[in-house]
Symmetry: C2
Subunit: 173 residues, 2 copies
């Protein structure tokens, strides 16, 4: 497959279905990429404290598994199973929990009905910005109600805190 | 993205969740590929007669739309919306209806519960075989009940008839 086959057009945004967070961070795209794609690093920043990420599996290719297990402050564990869709080194990482590894339709995600806000596709885009990175996180939902609920749950705050943790980890790499 | 990033390992088969049809056909992979990826050709063979495919949209890249509209002998139309996952020319074409164009989680597909057998990921693989093609269609489901029901609905017969139609179309190209 040549690069020309890959999704290079801007993704079509849908204001009622998409949540977007864009920030400038002062670490270069290469370090942000490593933080996102190495289990050892990802587990240190992925979940806003006091939540923890206690397991992580990354098979970094389209169709590969992206699996994490989060642990709440009370000790409750919640597994997250997804599938990578696009892997463009230092530029773009996309995955969805509507599929599992090998592109198989998901069974473990609650994909049913308006209430199942956790079915999403996420696209993290990185672009050089001075000596840092323009960091864009796009989370796409299938239903307006899901997007709204995800927003009310604190999407921007959660992804923002995780990104701050990522930057701290990247600076120690 | 380099080819090495693409899913090159054999897909993990799961006997209870996957349906597979493998056939040798006497047209080369290049023609089978064209029949699968050109709306004008696809509309002629995609639906076993007397069903018809009356519309087709193909945006041939990972994340691109694959949309068809089928019409029953009684004139009832059923739209099918999917998203390409892998596009490796003359070799492999994968798509799912768990996602729509741009990798967005699907809304139009009945993705809920054991009964929703039509949520699937399909992988068509082509390999040269003499002057013809070894043609493998793999359809992956998330639930055993879905795979079983798809099988009982006549998966092999339906995909087999469509393939015979494809070969006839390819020979006239």
């Amino acid at each position: 497959m040549t690069r020309a086959n890959v999704l290079t057009k801007p993704l079509p945004l849908h204001p009622a279905l998409d949540l977007v967070m864009e920030r400038i961070v002062d670490v270069p795209p290469e370090l942000v990429w490593r933080a996102w794609t190495t289990p050892e690093h990802l587990m240190k920043w992925f979940t806003p404290a006091p939540w923890k990420t206690v397991a992580c599996e990354i098979d970094l290719r389209p169709g590969g598994v992206f699996r994490t297990v989060m642990r709440s402050p009370e000790g409750r564990e919640s597994p997250n199973l997804g599938c990578y869709l696009e892997v463009i080194e230092n530029e773009r990482l996309a995955w969805t929990n509507a599929l599992e590894g090998g592109f198989r339709p998901a069974t473990s995600s609650p994909v049913c009905g308006e209430d199942a806000f956790f079915t999403f596709t996420a696209v993290v885009s990185l672009a050089p910005h001075g000596e840092g990175t323009r960091y864009t996180a796009l989370v796409m939902h299938g239903y307006v109600a899901r997007a709204r609920r995800h927003n009310e749950m604190g999407f921007e705050d959660g992804w923002g805190k995780a990104l701050e943790q990522l930057v701290a980890v990247a600076k120690r790499m």
